[in-house]
Subunit: 441 residues, 2 copies
């Protein structure tokens, strides 16, 4: 089909004024500096900025939200979307995912991450936290796409000394690479994969190194019952205690999944200031048999964020859909229709994520980074509009997002994204070639 292309797409950085947009607090204007910071946000706030703004967007048909934050994904796995599903975990990994991943190249990771960023921009996500490999290529992709990214090289030493030294070198190299980029939107984290793939020595090194570098820690935690049982069997300790003894649990840490935490472990995470990333679609699809214990985490005061996990266990990166599935799963799993109401879910996907990644408040307020999205208030999913938060969480998909702005740069305007066709073509070709190489091996 012919795609609609706006006449005046703001191709370059410049001050921006969004006028008359709807929020939970009523109709406001949002003024954004050329440096990408929100300068003013409120009713009539535009009057001081109207003459000076380089670009203007009519927001009267839109609802403004802070950009959504995806705190746990493996972006380049978008190339594996639909490649293998509905299989037992070990067969799925051993027969399908790992053989393909063994053939991944840096170029594949570039195109897979570009595709993921395209999908995120299109569905209203302005920042993501990634863990994978060939991460220099992931950084290049995120940089080209213009989104905010916290990137970790997935550290897996399999309890082998030599492999650990390799992983340490790879981690140092990537962190130093990101520093050299000097792109304020891209930061590095360390990525201890999990207690069953990283030795205690590896965990300790990562904890110390991340402290020295003052960077985040991105880890899988207590995703499956087997992970917990195996840890107890091998080490006499459950996964959170193993991480804690190694110094991994810090206020800079995001722990993904956390389905099998017990109540005391929720308190431990709260005490350490760890953020949790909730991945409901993946947890359901892979049948981990337990939902993240939201009531215990909330009671303990843990900061909760949202993640999509990789595209091979979801199979998309639409956080609107993830919010709905997440709110529904808690109600179902805990037998409570009042648990995780829409307003809380929306806060988890915005301010919870921003806090987890150290990106500020995740709100549309003066001084905050201008990471925000405009949602079509005349879409069917917003008709009628009795409640913004309810419609955002329960009714809309990411397809209702019209405009996505990250650090003040317009990445999508009225659903038009410059260069989209090239990304789709590059990713399609990479995916086809990857499957061909795997098949002919």
């Amino acid at each position: 089909m012919t795609r609609y292309q706006p006449e005046h797409f703001p191709e370059h950085a410049g001050s921006l004024l969004i006028e008359g947009v709807r929020t939970e607090q009523g109709q406001i204007d949002i003024a954004i500096s050329a440096e990408g910071t929100i300068e003013a946000a409120g009713p009539g706030a535009g009057s001081d900025f109207r003459s000076g703004a380089e670009y203007r967007i009519d927001g009267t048909g839109c609802i403004a939200l802070p950009g959504l934050v995806n705190c746990h994904t493996h972006a380049a796995m978008s190339l594996l979307r639909g490649y293998a599903d509905d299989m037992p975990l070990q067969a799925w990994l051993g027969e399908k995912i790992w053989p393909l991943e063994a053939r991944l190249t840096g170029s594949d990771v570039y195109w897979g991450t570009r595709l993921a960023c395209l999908e995120m921009i299109r569905t209203g996500t302005t920042a993501f936290q990634d863990m994978y490999f060939f991460m220099e290529e992931a950084a290049r992709a995120a940089g080209d796409a213009g989104v905010r990214a916290v990137l970790a090289y997935g550290f897996i030493d399999l309890f082998n000394d030599e492999k650990r030294e390799q992983e340490i070198r790879a981690t140092r190299r990537f962190v130093s690479h990101v520093r050299d980029l000097k792109n304020p939107l891209i930061t590095a984290a360390v990525g201890p994969h999990a207690v069953y793939t990283v030795s205690p020595e590896g965990l300790r090194w990562l904890a110390e190194y991340s402290g020295e570098e003052e960077i985040g820690i991105h880890v899988h935690l207590s995703e499956t019952e087997q992970e917990v049982a195996d840890a107890v069997k091998a080490w006499g300790k459950r996964p959170p205690e193993i991480l804690d003894k190694s110094g991994i649990l810090t206020p800079r840490t995001v722990a993904a999944h956390c389905c099998w935490l017990d109540r005391g472990e929720c308190t431990l995470l709260a005490g350490r200031g760890v953020s949790v990333a909730y991945n409901p679609a993946s947890n359901m699809k892979l049948a981990v048999n337990r939902a993240m214990p939201y009531p215990w985490l909330r009671e303990a005061g843990v900061n909760i964020s949202l993640g999509s996990d990789g595209c091979s266990s979801n199979n998309n990166l639409d956080l609107f859909e993830e919010m709905k599935i997440g709110a529904l799963l808690q109600k179902f799993a805990w037998n409570s229709p009042t648990l995780l109401p829409a307003g809380e879910m929306l806060a988890i996907a915005t301010s919870g994520g921003a806090r987890a990644l150290g990106l500020g408040t995740g709100t549309i307020t003066p001084g905050a980074p201008a990471d925000l999205i405009l949602v079509d208030r005349h879409a069917v999913c917003n008709t009628p509009l009795h409640s913004i938060s309810s419609n955002m969480v329960y009714s809309c998909s990411g397809a209702a997002v019209l405009t996505t702005i990250c650090n003040g740069r317009v990445l999508m305007l009225d659903r038009y994204i410059p260069g989209e066709e090239e990304v789709l073509a590059g990713a399609s070709a990479a995916a086809a070639d990857l499957v061909r190489r795997a098949g002919s091996a």
Copy 2:
């Protein structure tokens, strides 16, 4: 935003040729008669029809699927989308839903049903089964929208003789009204609400009447644990037995929800030829504490279809989203990542639904009604395209549907639907006025 409008929208009925569209079986052409029947479907099938076809659609950028079938909804409740959520069931009904419903007018039902039909067309649903009131207005709305509908007046006698006589008259009146419409797309069913709202005498009358009229039966069954417990307490029987003793369980019957069936009841439903409508999002949101027992129903051989339930407990009508939630919920609830794979889920939403409503095979085959949709194969959710069924169920939302065809009539082309703005405006006004009336009461 400016909406894209195709230059040549087929406004009138006419023969139609779709060329080069992708299906699970490869690339095909689909020829459709002016009367709305598929005449040919296969590779190169278009060559015989090219010169004669009144309209032609280039399908090369699309995936063709049978139209999705929504077997359980209360369409006009779209006006209540987001009006009340995250509440305990009784407070939600007693304080919010029922007071609003008490003020509903026929005009509200018309606009609510028009809005629902618009959403269904936009998300690839070509047929639905409804249960509500002011059903003459629902029939008018479905007729104006051009979708296929099986409509039932919701029969609720509350065990009161006088009320039962009123409901019998209302049911007869509506069935006769639908017959008089002589619209082949619109048929009537009877709608016994549930065992806790309809007397055994009412159930028996509905069973007999529907047999005489040869029309369907649309009923809620074993949605909650309380429904089962209350039935046992009041009647010494569980809901399926109550329905069966009244003659309600027939091959023309669609039973919605069925979460709390036991294994023997699945066998009973199979023996009676009943179809079940699975409503996963509603079941999760209202926290019914049990997923429809898919493995038992499948083992027993019951025909399974998909439903959205009403917009106040979902809160949308997007069956793509419903397919994903449905496939995920079974995996999670039964702790099996292989349960309800994508191909089965897609069949449930298409051929399962068509069988349930007596609409033929729900496949794209010669002789079948031309109810079909074209999905954007270049959308992000279809990049890459390793598996059509996986992408349809797990990755795409209804926003990937470009074109919707019902009975050979094009209802949406390249996402353009004639008259959409009027429906959105009419429904918005009706919803606002309804809330105002309820507030001032």
